[in-house]
Amino acid sequence: MPHEGLGEFEQLVLLAVVRLSNGNSDVYGVPIVEEIEKRTKRKPARAAVYITLRRLERKGLIASWTSEPGDDRGGKARHCVKMTAAGTRALREARWAMNQMWTGLDLGAGDRR
C-alpha cells in the first residue's frame, strides 16, 4: 500500500511505542503520552495521541490487541499496541529522509530547552 511519509507527530508516537516495547509492561495510550512528555518536555494533547494511534493502525504501521483485564485497574482491559514490520520500515524511511536532508548542514548547537 503506497503511503506518504510519516508526519512529525506520527514519528514521535511510533518512536514512543518502540521505546516502551523494550520494557515488559503493557504499551498503550497512557504510557505513550507519558513517554513523549518525559523525553520531549512537550505536553502532547492526549486526544491527538489517541487519534494518531488509530491512524497508524489504519495505515497498518502498528497492530493492537486487548490486554487481559488486570487486577490493578478494577478489571478493565487496555488497548495495547505494538509495531508492525511496515511500521519499522516507515520509521527507517523517515529517519533516512531526515538524515539525507541534515547531512552537511550545521545550524549550531541550538537552544534545546
Binding site: 498503550y28 495510550g29 494533547a45 486526544a47 485497574r73 482491559a77 487496555r78 488497548h79
Partner: protein, 910 residues
C-alpha cells in the same frame, strides 16, 4: 479500590463523541489517569483535568471523523482489512449522512471565512445591526401591542362609553351610575360589568403620606377583570351590603409602605380623609387602569332607586359573553340607554337631549390602552423591517461578489462530478453560519438596546415595564436569521451552481455577465428606494418637530417651576380659609432668593387640562339648551404674570378680592369671542349652570393651549378667582403652583424646605419644570423622529456601502476593458464619468421607485405629522437630492480607482 468516578456529564459527553471502536478503551484509560491524578492532586483538580480532556477529545474526534469521511479511502480502511476490493461498509442512514455532510460543509465554511475576516466581519455586523433593531422593536411590540393585558380572556373585556353626535358634548364621554345599573340588569350579552373612576388623592398611614392614583370602583370590577389577589381577598357583595370601607392595594405599595409584611392586611389607610381597611394585595402585573394606580377602594352607589341621573363621571368596563362581538353588544345597549329616563326620571332638558342622541361606544380594552401608540409602533416595526431588507440586499451583494471569485473552484468541483445540491449546500453553509452569528450578535444588540429604548420612550405606553427579550422575540430573531440566510445565500448559490458554469472553466471569462449585473443593479435599486423612503419619513417627522417647536402655546415655558401639595388641617374649611393658607404660602415662596413671581392655577396646561362646565350669560339667559360648554379653572397670585399670559383687555384679580372673595371672572380671548361676539366683554355677566352665582367679567387674557401643541385651536377658558363670592362657593385645595425663577437647579429643594416649615403634613407631588411638561407634550413625536432618523441613517449607510460595493466590483471586473480604452487614448476624466454615470443611472431608478413607494407609504404617518403634508414636495425633493448626492459620493471612489488604472501594467498582468 477507589469508588471515585470521573464527572458524569463529561463521561457522557465523551462517550457520545467517541467512535464505537474506541469508546471503551479510551474512557477506561482516561479513567485510569483520572484516578492517578485524583490520588495525587485532589478531586477538584482531577475533575477539571477530566473536563478539559473530555472536551478536547470530543472536538478532535469530531474533526477526525469529518476527515475520515472526506478522504475517499478512509471509509474503506475502516472495515478493518485495509485491502482494496473488499465490499464497502454498509450505507449509513440518510439522516446521519446528511448531518455529516452538513457538518463537513460547516467546517469548510468556517475555514473559508477565517481566511476572509473582513468580509465575515462586515456581513455579521450588517446583519447584527438589522436583526438587533428588529428584535428590540419586536420585543416592544410584543409586550405593548400583542400582550398588553394581564387579564384572563382579555379579548372579551370592553370599555363602554357614550357618544352623542348633534349635542355640544365633545366626542366620547364617560357614563353615569344609571347606565351601569341598567346595563347590568338588562344586557344579557354581558357576563359582568364594573364601574370605576380614578384620580390622584392623598393617602396617609401613621408613618407615610403621599399623593397616589386611586380607583373608586364597584365591587364587581375585579370579578369582571378576572383578577385575583396575591394576599387577602377582594371586595364581595357583603361589603356592599354593610357599606364597608375596604380597599385593595398594589404590589408596589405593599412593598414600599409595608415591606411585604403579611400583616398589611387589616391595617388602615386614610384615603381622601376617610379611613379604609386593607383587605387584599394585587399581583405585581395587575395594572388597572394603568401602572400608575396603587389602590382600589370599594365605593357604593348607595340606594339604587335614588340615583340622580346624569352624573357623567364614571367609566364602565364589561366582560362580554364568549362569542359576542363589540358591535353586537353596542346594538343591545342602544335601546337600553334610550329607556333610561323612563326608569330614573329627572335630568332635565340637557339630559333628555343627550339620551335622544346617545349612541353606545363599545371598544375592546386593549384598543383603548394601546390606541395612540399602536400605529407608531407598527410604523417602527415596518421601518426596521425595511432596514433588514436593505441589510439582506447588501449581504446578498457581498455574497454574489464573493461567490464570483469562487466561480472557478465551483466549476472545477462541478466538472469533477459534484451534484448541484452539494454545491448549493456548500455555498449555503457559509450563509447560514454568518446569519447565525449575525443573529447572536443581533440578540446582544437588542439586549443592550431594549432598556435604552424603554427609557427613551414617551410616557403613557402601556405595559412598557414588561418589555424584555422573551422567548417569542428570540423565536422571531431565529426566524429572521433564517430568512436572512435564505435571502442572501440561496440566490447566489443557485445561480453559481447552474450547469452553464462549467463553460467558465473553458473560457476563463472575465466579463461582467448580463444576468449578474441585472440582479446586482436590482439590489441597488431596492436599497436606494428603501433608504429614500426612510429618509423622506424621517424628513417629514423632522419638519413636523420643527413646526411644533415654533408653536406658541400662549404661555412661557422658560424658568418656571411647578408642583402641587396637599395640606390637611382642620381649620381649612371654606374658600377664605384655603385662600389665606395659599396666600401665606405664596408670600413665603416669593421670599426665596431669585424668585420673580409666584401664582397658582387649579389645572395646569399640558398637565391636567381643565374641567368643563356649561355657562349661561346675560345674553343666553338661563335656558339649559342655550348654555355653552366651556373649560374653566381657578387661578391665584401672579399666575398670568408668571406664565407670561398677556392681558388683552381690562385687569386681573387684585389681592384684596382674592382674600375676601369676589364675583369677578376673567375670560380668554376665544371665550369672549364665543360668549359675546362683536361685543366688549368687560362688565358682562356669566354663570356656571351648576351654580347659582353670577360673575362679572373684569378682564380678557390671551388664549393658551391646554392639552398639547397639536391642538388646532386653543381652548376657550374661564378663570375664576381663588375665593368665590360666598365662603362656601368653592375652595381651591390642591392647585398647581408656578414659580418663576432663573435658579432652576436649586429651587426644588428650597421650595421643599419652605413647605416643610409651612405645612409639614403636606406631601409635595407633580413636581416639574414647564420645560419638562412642554417636552413631554412633544415626546411622542420626538421619539418617533429620533428612531426613524436612526433607521434612515442606518439605511443610508448600508445603501451607500451597497452602491460602493457594486461599483467597486464592476470596476475591478472591467479593469482590462478600461485599460484598453485608456491605451487607446481615453482620458481619465472620461473614464471617471463613465463609472459615475453608471452608478447614477441605477441610483436614479432607485430614487424614482423610492418616491413612488414613499408617496404611498408616508400616508401612514399622517396622525404623527404636524404642520406638514404627507406629500410635502420640498421634503421629497430635498431627500431625493440628498440620496443622489450620497450615491454620487459612493460611486466617485471606484471611479477614481478606475481612472488611475495603469494600462500597461494591467494588460501585461493578463
Amino acid at each position: 479500590m477507589s469508588v471515585v468516578r470521573a464527572p458524569r456529564l463529561a463521561r457522557r459527553l465523551l462517550a457520545s463523541a467517541l467512535p464505537d471502536d474506541a469508546r471503551e478503551y479510551v474512557t477506561n484509560e482516561l479513567e485510569e489517569v483520572f484516578h492517578q491524578r485524583h490520588a495525587a492532586g485532589g478531586g477538584l483538580h482531577a475533575r477539571a483535568w477530566y473536563w478539559r480532556e473530555a472536551l478536547s477529545f470530543t472536538l478532535r474526534f469530531a474533526i477526525e471523523r469529518i476527515h475520515e469521511h472526506a478522504t475517499p479511502d478512509g471509509g474503506l480502511a475502516l472495515n478493518g482489512t485495509g485491502l482494496p476490493g473488499m465490499p464497502s461498509p454498509p450505507r449509513r442512514g440518510f439522516m446521519r449522512r446528511t448531518l455529516e455532510s452538513w457538518m463537513r460543509d460547516f467546517t469548510y465554511a468556517i475555514r473559508r471565512l477565517l481566511r476572509a475576516p473582513g468580509f465575515a466581519f462586515v456581513t455579521v455586523l450588517t446583519l447584527a445591526l438589522a436583526i438587533g433593531a428588529n428584535t428590540a422593536i419586536f420585543s416592544v411590540v410584543d409586550a405593548v401591542l400583542i400582550n398588553p393585558l394581564s387579564f384572563p380572556n382579555a379579548d372579551r373585556l370592553v370599555l363602554i362609553r357614550g357618544l352623542a353626535p348633534g349635542t355640544d358634548l365633545p366626542g366620547e364621554f364617560a357614563l353615569s351610575p344609571e347606565f351601569y345599573v341598567s346595563y347590568r340588569d338588562q344586557a344579557d350579552k354581558l357576563e359582568s360589568i364594573g364601574m370605576f373612576a380614578g384620580g390622584q388623592t392623598t393617602v396617609r398611614s401613621p408613618e407615610q403620606v403621599d399623593r397616589l392614583f386611586v380607583v373608586q370602583m364597584t365591587s364587581t370590577l375585579f370579578s369582571t377583570l378576572g383578577s385575583k389577589p396575591v394576599l387577602g381577598r377582594l371586595p364581595i357583595k357583603e361589603d356592599d351590603d354593610k357599606n364597608a370601607p375596604v380597599m385593595v392595594i398594589s404590589h408596589q405599595l405593599w412593598r414600599d409602605w409595608f415591606k411585604f409584611r403579611p400583616d398589611a392586611i387589616g391595617k388602615q389607610l386614610e384615603v381622601s380623609g376617610t379611613r379604609r381597611t386593607i383587605i387584599g394585595v394585587m399581583a405585581p402585573d395587575f395594572r388597572f387602569p394603568n401602572a400608575n394606580y396603587s389602590a382600589w377602594i370599594r365605593a357604593s352607589i348607595g340606594d339604587e332607586t335614588k340615583i340622580v341621573a346624569g352624573q357623567l363621571n364614571f367609566s364602565l368596563i364589561g366582560r362580554m359573553k364568549p362569542g359576542v362581538r363589540p358591535e353586537d353588544l353596542a346594538a343591545q345597549l342602544a335601546p337600553i340607554a334610550k329607556r333610561l329616563p323612563e326608569r330614573w326620571g329627572g335630568g332635565g332638558a340637557r339630559y333628555l337631549q343627550l339620551i335622544e342622541h346617545h349612541r353606545p361606544v363599545v371598544r375592546p380594552l386593549r384598543d383603548q390602552l394601546v390606541g395612540e401608540i399602536e400605529r407608531p409602533l407598527w410604523i417602527l416595526l415596518g421601518t426596521v423591517g425595511v432596514v433588514l431588507l436593505i441589510a439582506c440586499a447588501n449581504v446578498a451583494n457581498l455574497f454574489t461578489v464573493r461567490a464570483q471569485g469562487q466561480r472557478r473552484a465551483m466549476a472545477v468541483r462541478q466538472a469533477l462530478g459534484a451534484g448541484r445540491a452539494t454545491l448549493v449546500r456548500a455555498l449555503m453553509s457559509e450563509a447560514i453560519l454568518l446569519a447565525v452569528l449575525g443573529g447572536i450578535a443581533g440578540v446582544l444588540i437588542a439586549w443592550i438596546g431594549v432598556p435604552i429604548l424603554v427609557r427613551a420612550a414617551p410616557e403613557g405606553i402601556p405595559n412598557l415595564d414588561n418589555v424584555r427579550l422573551n422567548g417569542f422575540a428570540l423565536a422571531f430573531t431565529a426566524g429572521l436569521s433564517l430568512f436572512a440566510a435564505c435571502a442572501f445565500g440561496l440566490l447566489p448559490a443557485i445561480r453559481l451552481s447552474s450547469p452553464v458554469m462549467v463553460d467558465d472553466l473553458r473560457q476563463g471569462s472575465r466579463s461582467v455577465t448580463l444576468e449578474g449585473r441585472f440582479s446586482r443593479n436590482g439590489l441597488v435599486v431596492l436599497q436606494t428606494a428603501s433608504a429614500l423612503v426612510l429618509l423622506v419619513a424621517a424628513g417629514l417627522l423632522g419638519r413636523s418637530f420643527i413646526a411644533m417647536s415654533r408653536v406658541d402655546p400662549g404661555f412661557s415655558t422658560k424658568d418656571i417651576f411647578t408642583f402641587q401639595m396637599a395640606p390637611q388641617r382642620p381649620q381649612l374649611v371654606d374658600g377664605p380659609t384655603w385662600g389665606a393658607f395659599h396666600r401665606g404660602f405664596m408670600t413665603r415662596l416669593a421670599a426665596i432668593p431669585g424668585v420673580q413671581s409666584v401664582g397658582f392655577v387649579n389645572e395646569l396646561p399640558f398637565d391636567e387640562g381643565a374641567g368643563r362646565s356649561r355657562f349661561y350669560t346675560d345674553r343666553s339667559g338661563e335656558n339649559p339648551l342655550g348654555a355653552t360648554l366651556m373649560a374653566f379653572t381657578y387661578s391665584g397670585g401672579d399666575y398670568f404674570k408668571t406664565m407670561d399670559i398677556d392681558v388683552v383687555k381690562g385687569r386681573l384679580f387684585d389681592q384684596a378680592e382674592e382674600t375676601v372673595g369676589s364675583s369677578s371672572v376673567i375670560v380668554s380671548r376665544a371665550a369672549a369671542q364665543i360668549l359675546w361676539p362683536e361685543e366688549d366683554p368687560i362688565g358682562k355677566r356669566l354663570r356656571n349652570a351648576d351654580r347659582t352665582s353670577w360673575h362679572n367679567v373684569i378682564g380678557v387674557v390671551d388664549d393658551v393651549r391646554l392639552q398639547n401643541f397639536r391642538q388646532q385651536n386653543p381652548d376657550p377658558m374661564i378663570y375664576f378667582p381663588m375665593v368665590g363670592p360666598e365662603p362656601r362657593s368653592w375652595a381651591v385645595g390642591t392647585p398647581a403652583y408656578v414659580v418663576k425663577t432663573p435658579r432652576m437647579d436649586s429651587i426644588a429643594s428650597e421650595v421643599r424646605a419652605v413647605l416643610r416649615e409651612y405645612a409639614p403634613e403636606a406631601p409635595m407631588y407633580r413636581v416639574f419644570t414647564m420645560t419638562q411638561l412642554a417636552d413631554r407634550a412633544k415626546a411622542q413625536l420626538h421619539f418617533m423622529m429620533l428612531l426613524l432618523a436612526i433607521a434612515a441613517g442606518l439605511a443610508v449607510v448600508l445603501g451607500t456601502v451597497g452602491i460602493y460595493g457594486v461599483l467597486s466590483y464592476v470596476v475591478s471586473r472591467r479593469t482590462r476593458e478600461i485599460a484598453v480604452r485608456m491605451a487607446l487614448g481615453a482620458k481619465a476624466s472620461a473614464v471617471r464619468r463613465m463609472v459615475v454615470i453608471q452608478g447614477a443611472r441605477v441610483t436614479m431608478i432607485g430614487v424614482a421607485v423610492g418616491i413612488v413607494i414613499a408617496l404611498a407609504a408616508t400616508r401612514v404617518l399622517d396622525t404623527l405629522l404636524f404642520g406638514v403634508d404627507a406629500f410635502d414636495a420640498p421634503t421629497f425633493a430635498g431627500m431625493a437630492a440628498l440620496m443622489m448626492l450620497i450615491a454620487f459620493a459612493a460611486s466617485y471612489i471606484p471611479a477614481r480607482r478606475a481612472s488611475s488604472v495603469d494600462p500597461l501594467q494591467s494588460l501585461t498582468i493578463e
